[in-house]
Symmetry: C2
Subunit: 337 residues, 2 copies
């Protein structure tokens, strides 16, 4: 595959992304200074089609890239185009105004949607990969306790515990101190193991309550492992007939945490940034969709974020935006650590 053929492919991808219409040989030879005639381009196009990088919607139409073509473009041709200084400043300012973790996530997802003009998805810092920073017990009524768990990423979970026996304020403080001793700094994944014998280690008076507390904590980190995600920019699905078919399945998928997690999560945790194009997504409804994801977190990855759009997307711009935002969010989490 010679260099000019690659240039032709790049021209086709870029023009198609820009115009959303099949691009013909004449357009390529004129608008991109390749120094060859349309007829020559046609020969190259025949080759590219043979090799599976582009295709014709129908005879005597221009060519459009295939998933394989986009893949080649992303891997070898697309120069990532960094955000403009103004954009970077805006990202900075907007994110640094966040007042808590919820707000960081909300702002991030909006920002991504706005920057890329696509649907953005951000996973809340995963409970599984964070650790316990603090456990707070608050007595609401004599038999009702609220337990608040704060993780090192700033996520807060609260649960109610029905106490089998009435406990006084000092006893609750005792229980709280003990639970914190056991759990502070420990990974959430270890919480069930560490609390398994919580009841056995406290005074008899506290035993029943401790058991109940252990049960609730376990439920919090295990049973409800379902990860939360935030979505924004659904309206962008309507841009220029992104999804020729009905966009119903996509809209439905956007409300299914499970599906979203699958899209985000399948990302190689090692890779800084993952691009899955068209049928590289295993989910059927996303065969015409590209997902660009990046991990984020303070030091280690605690969650993923990404955007989702038609295979026909502006790859250089999108990749740059996702990467920049992921980096900056990581920085913020690092600071709040």
């Amino acid at each position: 595959m010679d260099d000019r053929k690659l240039e032709v492919l790049r021209a086709i991808v870029e023009d198609y992304v820009a115009t959303q219409e099949p691009v013909g040989s004449k357009a390529v030879s004129q608008r991109h200074a390749l120094g060859v005639s349309a007829a020559t381009v046609r020969n190259d196009m025949a080759y590219l089609e043979e090799a599976g990088y582009i295709q014709q919607p129908h005879t005597s139409a221009g060519r459009i890239p295939t998933a394989k073509g986009y893949r080649l473009f992303v891997d070898r041709l697309g120069k990532i185009k960094p955000l403009s200084a103004a954009e970077r400043r805006a990202v900075h300012r907007f994110l640094s105004e966040a007042i808590d973790l919820d707000d960081v996530v909300t702002r991030t997802v909006r920002l991504l949607a706005q920057l890329t003009h696509q649907v953005a998805v951000v996973q809340y810092p995963s409970l599984n990969r964070s650790s316990v920073r603090h456990l707070e017990l608050v007595s609401l009524t004599p038999t009702r306790l609220m337990v608040v768990m704060i993780t090192d990423t700033g996520r807060v979970e609260q649960r109610y515990v029905e106490m089998p026996a009435e406990l006084g304020e000092s006893e609750i403080l005792e229980l709280r101190r003990f639970a914190n001793e056991q759990l502070q700094g420990k990974a959430l994944a270890d919480v069930p193991r560490l609390t398994a014998d919580l009841a056995g280690q406290v005074r008899p008076e506290l035993r029943d309550t401790a058991a109940e507390l252990a049960r609730v904590l376990k439920e919090t980190v295990v049973a409800r492992t379902e990860e939360r995600v935030a979505v924004a920019g659904a309206a962008n699905l309507t841009r220029g007939n992104f999804f020729a078919g009905s966009m119903r399945p996509i809209l439905e998928a956007l409300e299914e945490e499970v599906v979203l997690m699958q899209l985000l999560g399948r990302a190689d945790s090692n890779a800084l940034l993952t691009v899955r194009i068209g049928d590289e997504n295993e989910i059927d409804d996303f065969r015409e969709t590209t997902v660009v994801t990046a991990g984020y977190g303070p030091g280690s990855v605690v969650g993923h974020m990404g955007v989702l759009g038609p295979t026909r997307m502006d790859y250089p711009g999108t990749i740059a935006a996702v990467r920049a935002v992921a980096r900056y969010v990581s920085e913020i989490l690092e600071q709040n650590r």
Copy 2:
């Protein structure tokens, strides 16, 4: 306006809602046993059109109801059709499995979307209308405090406070006790007033921190009055070409808390249930949309929920669903009180 004309209107509304196609005189006289001929129905239709209750998309087409027609239908003709026993059981079961307030809201909004096949919107219990149940201070680092505010509806807000001076554990406890004395049971709206002189009432060592705490609390209840809302069922917008035009503006509106609050909030707080049809909504993009909302809360109203769909909706069913769900959620909040 005689009874038969009303029956004709009902027939038109019901058929149009069912088939989504203009309904003609023959269809009315045949499918609904009115005992009169099509010609007679035509005369009644001419009257109804004159009076503004129905209209013709074009000459020689059937009739469709106008907003005014739907209004009359809702006010005088529609018998609310209660949920089936099976549906009620399902609502009960699904909602009673909720583990915290977030979960209640999430489940509610999904339930509404599923029951009505429309877009559901649920407002989180408004901070403004609830009161402080408990304030918790957690020291994270020597100079960093986390303040957790729990409201009587179970909503939890957390904020960070940078302490101007290092405080010991016992001093934080003292501050916490004092703040709770001041605020427990008080309406959130009163918090700024009550904390205005917090700094003046504590020992000099605590003063700076107390001032900072007061500032953060004020910010929590005032500056961030922006109310949170949950949305579900956006995919239902694609059902049978709900929105002939583009559905873009609707999708955009669904991501704007401000717009959603406007839709939900304009509800008469007194009314148990509000139906706003077509241009009764002041927002331009919702001229073809009906919003059915209900207030909910333990005793008094702390928030609203509702669904949003085309004016051409199943009013009796939708109204029944919204009412039933709002009632049941209120019960749950009552129990957790």
